[in-house]
Symmetry: D2
Subunit: 363 residues, 4 copies
């Protein structure tokens, strides 16, 4: 169950970065939706390595194959299995890691948990695992298109290290984000961000940052009151992505410096629609969407795998040093944007279907 | 399923703040553990209203009754049902809320989701719902006592509005926290915090803040690699508590301003134990505990229910004003501390049992 | 999770026959349904002891209390907790069983599993546990009333030992069944059945039999294709009831003596409705309802607890003899009828909601 | 979730008989078990078409590929994905079924549920779906080998139509069953069974029968007391197989003609082991294994797809006739034997791990 996510729109991902491939099974997708590999490939391409000069140069086409659940271009209502073969595998680039644990990576903890690990390329801890999530989310977006036609999910890089952009969650557009290779929401800081990433790469070092995500057009009523609060499921979804260290929604941590009178979002009527004058709630109140824009931020730490030598220990429990070789992202943020967007779509799709299931005809 | 939490140590809470009572059913507690109401009451008393001059004066003894699953002082391995009756109910204090939505509370979203709500006292959105969680966590701690005897969970108030304490996660003790009514981890800021809370109460206003929680003595290997990462489940657990707006672990959001070389936790050997020199990971790497202290922070917004008049709308969708009456916490932080601790215990207990289930004899 | 059942209409039962009480929590009931204790009590009364001269004379009023999830007579959409207190407890009647295992009862296996057991009255293995199921099913029937208004569930005693009734599943009515204390579907065999039960009771012996259940008015399309086939979930539901030894649907075991040509149900059109000329499928094909009457049979073994002495062993692993005292059903069938009906309602309600969740607007 | 099975050893199957392939993802398999394709292929070969003259002549090698979760011959503890490509696809043999519903098959109900179906070969209702189950069960047997080394699961054909074998559940051996192409447990009836199957095939007709399965060496204590009773999970598992109409355990339906005194299994001591003199319980009491041999029977109806013309209706809701072409099993029993065995292994493995998770060290 550890590799499954969602209740009604339920996905199970599988696969290591080195091995037969990576994939996902989607159980619970409604029937009669148009679906083809093209719908999925588009998002996979935004996630894949080698897409620009500031990400890892690994060459993976990440071509997906739909193995089941679709017939004559329509979803059948039965499980949709999607497979992406691994191609550019270079286990020899990982031989040091067969014994030496990368600092702040999952090598040691996997050994501690399982007693063994696939040391070729990070196993399940590789960002490659997120292929399954992104593929499934492409399907989730199709479902959402029927349940909330005006829904828009846009994620973007808010900051990299100390360089921060200025973005308005109400107006930021997908095209603006995709127009630059950083996926910054603010075009004015793109060049500085690229310079920074290229400079840390040259040093064998890395940087992190913050991704912000907005979901506009979520109708009121999605979410649950207690454990499965919409913000709780979003938090879990984001903190399940590799390299994440924090999640905050609406006013977030900064909101704790306000008083209640300053923080509360007063209601008013806009025609027959209940609106709030401010949106410190971030679109969710008591676990349930209120119809305002949902927005939240996710902190990504600097990439752990470095080309610089660092002190560590070996699987034989001897102190040693390790400098990684291989092709790694000096900054995960540009490729994290479609991952954040994907997890958002998965959470919203599941809650949308849950809300549908709660409504009885005539009540 | 929305009111259930956990996989192997699974709880289901139920109950509204006004109604027959509040309770929890625990399914999956191992047999033969000593358990009595006294073990549970102790934590409920730390959560209950009326415990000090800075919390709500509602008079609720919150006496618990174990209805099943325990026989002659031992757990049976079958479901443990725990009931707390509601006592100090004053629905008349909520009559305005029958029609007017409290800003930034769940009144409107419950109506949007369900088409009706129990307007007496907040329903499931009341902090009273957490009684079931705290009671279940008292049982979880018993289980953890067998699986990790040296485990200590200590939560404390880190900041209230702009007043922040200085606390060392490695050494902070439960007794220090419980020695002051704010549950601050830093005794030097207690008086200022009390003054602040009393002053905002006098104004009918409210404040929020940050709770930090540490778990020392978690063995390496708890957690899961993908969706059920230990930090992801902790994030969900915390963000499922009322009034939370953010979660961060280890270096958190501040960690994004470091480079990889600065951020990575180098490994070394301490005797035969793998240790890290720093702990920016917050005790978890790749979703799995590494044996270092787990610590994280949770942002709580200022209490939404205010005694001051605010603009809002009614359930008939008319604009109106609302000033709450009734007895509310001007600051939820002191009572949030045992809730954060409880959710931490529930997450750790579940993952401890999951790890037990994964280990085959002789492998 | 072992005490939970269902996915969308999910129940968790708790309680032992001796202890604080018995109950259930229902999570996933849609809001705005009319519900009161009266709706539930009616079915509990059909299940309770002491209702006639052929069942156990234990005096339990089994009065239920709705503790949560209902407000001003309407379901809130949040968990509904229902409590029935234990009243007529006589632990002294079970003192022999503190050490001696009843043959074919669960005393030994509970000890083997848990290392201890509540020997007063059978613990969770008592038929008293089914109170929670019957109470939850009363709520499920309310939901079904909205999703399939013409649905009728009727269960009845088909045979007791070698006395078998003749019943037409298409026409048998609830009132016919409830008009006799055996709950036989065939009035002509009632007297013989009563005589048989009274005669085995006089000998301290017991008998079993078969309950048949029909569900008329299930629309086509409920159920799932693979593991959660409708007949699979019904089988699990029935085999989870105490004392059951077999389940068969439609043609059942007898159907294996037919050829395919004899067994197949040919389709024809009745107006615009697809019908089958025969119904050996029992209303389900490939795991999914086809709109014909669902009917199945459940085998209940003779009651294991006997007043006659039998060889057994003690919890100290010594051979011994045991004759039960206390008040036991000489035949569980009359009280099993509402239990079978309840489990049928729970399965159908869950699958009805699952089917609702699968249908997207406009597709 | 509808295509998932199990709690701790959890499998998700996917795939249609015509399409990219068939597969399974196993989540929850413990690490460090030896595993290769060879371990799995062996059971797949017992299930595959074309294996003898009495089954369908479809030519499918059913070669499996392990795509993930295994590294250097050992399980990693992470999801194991297994893929079998479809090869001998002849959609043209199914063109009539694009519009005409096969009587007693799932064509109509799939259309009723989903509004469309993959009419090429039966979709998810094809017995081909069980490839994923059989593959997963091969892995489950590896786990069981560590948790109950003396466990033996043997399934066999008990009867075909009116020809019934005589088999002793305590002594029947796997080799005896595999020595004949019917997989009869009684060699003396094999020839008659083969003759019968060949004769109905010649007529374009079909037959059904009963499979019996025994599990010897299950330790006391596996199973759960209420909904997840071991017999309930076995019943669900068996009734989820295609073409099943009934399940009975131990004395089954015939046991209802005995009195309690006749039916009860008296306990005695065999050395320090608790035994029963008879085994009408079928090795399970109160949902939990008692250490005796578990045995049960499963009724399989005659194959629905016939080469003889039958009345039916079309997807346009017109009455019509249909005679199938294509290559179908005249009797599913020989190939059902490994399926029954597989589902038994999956249920036992899951419950074995659940019991492990319940045991705390030192309690």
């Amino acid at each position: 169950m550890a590799s499954s996510f969602g209740h009604l729109f339920r996905i199970a991902t599988w696969g290591e970065s080195h091995g037969g491939g990576i994939g996902v099974v989607i159980d619970g997708c409604p029937p009669n939706l148009d679906l083809s590999e093209t719908d999925i490939q588009c998002d996979l391409d935004r996630r894949r390595p080698g897409q620009s000069k500031i990400v890892t140069p690994r060459k993976e086409a990440d071509r997906c194959e739909i193995l089941s659940g679709v017939f004559q271009g329509k979803t059948l209502g039965t499980p949709i299995a999607i497979l992406v073969r691994n191609e550019d595998q270079r286990p020899e680039a990982y031989t040091e890691m067969a014994t030496a644990y990368r600092p702040s990576h999952a090598d040691y903890t996997y050994d501690a948990k399982y007693g063994l690990r696939n040391w070729q390329g990070g196993g399940r801890a590789s960002a490659r695992e997120t292929i399954g999530r992104v593929a499934a989310a492409a399907v989730a977006k199709k479902v959402l298109g029927h349940l909330a036609p005006s829904l828009e999910i846009v994620a973007y890089v808010k900051s990299i290290k100390d360089i921060s952009g200025t973005v308005d969650p109400e107006t930021i557009r997908f095209a603006t984000v995709e127009a630059n290779i950083v996926r910054s929401g603010d075009p004015s800081v793109v060049d500085a961000m690229i310079d920074l990433i290229q400079s840390v790469r040259a040093e064998g070092n890395s940087v992190g940052g913050v991704v912000e995500c907005v979901a506009r057009g979520v109708p009121p009523g999605w979410g649950e009151p207690v454990f499965d609060k919409l913000e709780a499921d979003l938090a879990k979804a984001m903190m399940s992505l590799p390299a994440t260290k924090g999640f905050e929604i609406g006013s977030g941590f900064a909101g704790t410096s306000l008083t209640g009178l300053e923080h509360n979002d007063e209601f008013y009527m806009e025609g027959d629609r209940v609106r709030t004058r401010t949106n410190r709630s971030g679109g969710i109140q008591g676990g349930i969407s209120n119809g305002e824009t949902i927005f939240f931020r996710v902190a990504f730490k600097p990439t752990a795998t470095l080309l610089r030598s660092q002190a560590t220990v070996s699987s034989e429990k001897k102190e040693t040093e390790l400098a990684a070789r291989g092709r790694h992202d000096p900054c995960v943020l540009p490729r994290a944007v479609p991952m954040v967007e994907a997890m958002t779509a998965l959470v919203l799709c599941d809650h949308a279907l849950r809300q549908e299931a709660l409504r009885l005809p005539g009540l």
